[in-house]
Symmetry: C2
Subunit: 162 residues, 2 copies
């Protein structure tokens, strides 16, 4: 095993105030990745086969909705999560697949902070409720979801290192 | 391209009456698959690195929550979706990651039909609201979620072929 990479924590709970928004990501959706995900996790014909997809609701091959979620997660990781004091998430609400995602699309994300509060039961930890939206290259929303995230407080991190 | 596989449609909207339950799946969670998913979609240290995971909330390497969702989807496909008149899903509510999923676990699923109705706007199509739960080999629930699915009606399929 290689040693854990040194993590620089730039984003704490305090960096997610209510109303804050952030636009990020530029994820190309390749045909190869679309087919590989579908083969492993969602082998429905309209995600795997051009002819079957042509007869389906969207008229051409589209990515699994769970692949869209996974790509959203990767954009979050690359933009802020890997440099944050994130402690994970208990879950997601109101996940909506609004439009199909197609090979050849390029996706980006935007979050909006809906709520933020510190946890009485866990000193040094705060909760943030975020709405995420994913857009294609025409700025059409293709996915939206909401969820709580737990983040360490900057004040606690400063206290710990003092 | 190979031709679309011939699909046998065994499950229609009528096969999901309110209150119906079904237990299915036996998905082994390998270390290789856990790391491969994390590398591509969720490279947080506690999904990728034993030492970082040992210092984290769960004490050892765990699978990405989105990997759990993707494995749930595969079990649904293999058990009933690929042999159904499914027309897809608009989204998911109340997705909860209840316990960590670890390499070495073996997962299974259970669904319960919560609601079912035909669509006035789309003759021949019905909606089903399902709750899915995912369990590990100790029968501990590790994930739950709810969602609407659209399925073609058997009566419409019979009518079409008559």
């Amino acid at each position: 095993m290689s040693p854990p990479p040194a993590r620089v924590v730039r984003f704490h709970w305090e960096d997610f105030p209510v109303g804050a928004t952030r636009t990020f990501g530029a994820m190309p959706v390749t045909r190869e990745a679309t087919l590989a995900f579908a083969r492993e996790f969602d082998p429905q014909p309209f995600h795997l086969d051009d002819e079957a997809a042509a007869m389906g609701l969207f008229g051409k091959l589209s990515a699994s909705g769970w692949h869209s979620c996974a790509m959203a997660m990767r954009m979050m990781c690359d933009d802020y999560l890997l440099e944050s004091s994130s402690l994970g998430s208990p879950g997601i609400d109101n996940l909506r697949w609004l439009k199909p995602v197609f090979p050849g699309d390029t996706l980006h994300m935007r979050y909006t902070v809906l709520e933020a509060r510190t946890m009485k039961s866990r000193p040094g930890v705060g909760l943030v409720r975020l709405e995420w939206q994913m857009f294609n290259q025409q700025d059409e929303p293709v996915l939206s979801m909401e969820g709580w995230g737990m983040f360490g407080l900057r004040s606690a991190a400063l206290g710990a290192s003092a």
